[in-house]
Symmetry: none
Subunit: 406 residues, 2 copies
């Protein structure tokens, strides 16, 4: 079954608002075993007719968002009726419903609202409890079109409560099984991951392998027609990639850290120089992180490293702030000062200034200190773009906590 989405709205093409419908509908359709094969955004007006005719030539199911309102540029209803060769029939009961909503809010209804009471012959009307324009489902025997209102607050409940159940019934038996696993991998490039496992994964059977790369990491996406096959593929990936896989599904690194720390009943502390508070901020993005995180320091200057974390002045003079020795002393100081079970420290050169031949921009040292006295120090050369550097460094610092907790 071919599924396409048409998003209408000039504001989308002016970049004034971001299209959140595609993601919402695509995820929901995937749960039905359906995949969106194409999405197009067109401005309000006649382009909608062309886009719909174009999609009809390919798709079995077409979702159209927006253009159901009462104003002159809202022509989705007309466009679809015309493409299917159906008359628009006026429904008094729909207009009465709209009138009642206006009365409720003490608004005066004008005659433009009448357009929203027009329904293509034989169309199914989807109730819109959160707005005036009803949704519509129209079909011609080969193509099913679902017309949804543009405002997310109207579209989402209408989709969940009306359109989705209707589609489940309408396509019962025709919905192919689709099983997906996404594994989030840190510290290996996408080509490395492909070389490590793509051939072997594909040898297991019809598994679709996809890669979505971000700085320093990659999401590995495995899709197969059977649960057992996608599981087998995921197990193979786990065997090959080991604990470079930090999450399955959409979980973020900080969510994993908080979950694992809560499960272990352990607390963590942070001592940050070059990441400037980003590690702490990401931990505290997670609800209930207060159970595992209590103390964080942003010791951006050497003086702060000395007075707040007790880093010896001598260490800073001898080795410089960006050194394994200072990273280690920062982590030890944070552990002492916080009484936490684990403390992670980050010190590096975020740039663009401050690099030297021996210590270039992008160089960073991490230290992980444990209450039992064990300490681990690592060195990395990361991006020379400041914000990318910070996010990669924060991710590695969080990963050190994850590995120490897991």
């Amino acid at each position: 079954m071919r599924v396409e989405i048409i998003n209408t709205g000039t504001e989308l093409l002016l970049g004034q608002i971001t299209n959140t419908h595609l993601g919402f509908l695509a995820q929901s359709l995937f749960g039905l075993g359906l995949r969106v094969e194409r999405q197009v955004t067109v401005p309000d007006g006649p382009a909608i007719t062309l886009a719909f005719r174009d999609a009809m030539a390919r798709a079995d199911l077409i979702l159209v968002t927006g253009g159901l309102g009462p104003t002159s540029d809202d022509i989705t209803r007309e466009a679809v009726a015309e493409a299917f060769g159906l008359k628009l029939i006026f429904h008094q009961e729909i207009l009465d419903g709209i009138a009642a909503k206006f009365a409720e809010r003490k608004f005066v209804m004008n005659e433009l609202q009448r357009a929203q009471a027009l329904v293509p012959e034989g169309g199914v009307v989807l109730d819109n409890p959160f707005g005036t324009a009803p949704g519509l489902i129209v079909e011609d025997g080969t193509t099913v079109a679902v017309l949804l209102p543009g405002p997310p607050g109207e579209l989402r409940p209408m989709w969940q409560n009306e359109a989705l159940p209707w589609l489940r019934k309408r396509f019962a038996g025709r919905l192919p099984p689709v099983h997906e696993v996404t594994l989030r991998v840190l510290g290996l490039g996408e080509t490395r991951v492909q070389i490590l496992l793509e051939d072997e994964v594909k040898a297991l059977g019809p598994v679709e392998v996809g890669y979505c790369a971000r700085p320093g990491e990659v999401d590995l996406r495995l899709i197969a027609p059977e649960e057992s096959l996608v599981r087998k593929a995921a197990d193979l990936a786990r065997a090959k990639l080991g604990d470079a896989i930090y999450a399955e599904g959409a979980a973020t690194m900080e969510e994993v850290v908080v979950r694992v720390a809560r499960a272990a009943g352990k607390t963590v502390a942070t001592a940050e120089s070059c990441t400037g508070g980003l590690v702490a901020s990401r931990i505290t993005n997670v609800s209930r992180s207060s159970e595992i995180f209590r103390y964080g320091w942003v010791t951006y200057a050497n003086a702060a490293k000395m007075t707040e974390l007790g880093v010896p002045a001598g260490l800073l003079e001898t080795h410089g702030a960006v050194s394994p020795e200072v990273a280690r002393a920062m982590a030890e100081g944070a552990l002492r000062g916080s009484g936490a079970d684990l403390a992670v420290a980050v010190t590096g050169i975020a740039g663009p200034t401050g690099g030297t031949p021996e210590k270039p921009v992008g160089l960073v040292y991490f230290a992980l200190a444990r209450a039992d006295g064990q300490i681990e120090v690592i060195e990395r050369n990361l991006s020379t773009v400041r914000e990318t550097f910070k996010s990669m460094a924060a991710q590695i610092a969080l990963d050190l906590l994850r590995r120490a907790l897991g």
Copy 2:
């Protein structure tokens, strides 16, 4: 001139990531006097070829994002070369550049990277300082195609620094004049801003007024055919909105804070509870922020507020951590501990848990302490959505610094 955008990426059609390229590129093109007439999203693979041929039939300028990487599903380069009937030529110097980047990061390059050194005959190569895949500009006399990498951190600088200047030159004379000023406003809703000035602005002449609202703030976009007119409109907006305007253009609040503090030769410190390090992290996103920021504390637990900032236990017991008194003591403690000229403190309830009838989720207190002993404390009720709460609270804390420095 017809402009279309093709976004490639199966993850977009699976709803795993949101398309932020369209908004970024559309706004930038608008600045050139160009409007995007159509946007399509297609999965990685052969669909790219079909979508490109389809767009070629209509568009003068086609932007393609994604599919330039080294893995098997990255075929944009091949698709466009094929559609234009051009051979792909291997460029050793591109591969050498990629090899150098791998060497810099101490990574080993593998043979798959070679694909990124292929360029359609006569194509313009766009340097990618933040990744391996170069961008490409290819044309056949009627249609210009700009191929950009998928990761936003690579696409955006490449667009700004390479593609945009090239297009300005290439289409010089064909671009209608557009002058734009964006004013960033904190603490006023978009309807309030509209009521305050839209009629008077429009009375000045043909000025297009646009609003882009974010939680707690709004960007006011003024567009006119003449520079003088857009300036007049901006001056009027400044007269009406005063220091609620924190920036002109794309500057972030933290960039303004660092710029103003550097100009004034002053240093700032942060004491954060509910924002969890976000204020410090945003300050340190700005290059050379080390000149004005040295100390930050993330005192997430009461114990941390006492031991690190010297907040008296009695205050915490009597008033609770989320109180004007504790906010004030945190700011004073940060000022003392850091020796900075200004210290800002934030304490509130980010939720979802921890709210009470008297102190609901979203309640937050800010304190700004100055070396001269002056202190200012404010209360706000912000979003009850955790991450929105944090970003709004961080923005207000930064704004307190901006106003105190300005």
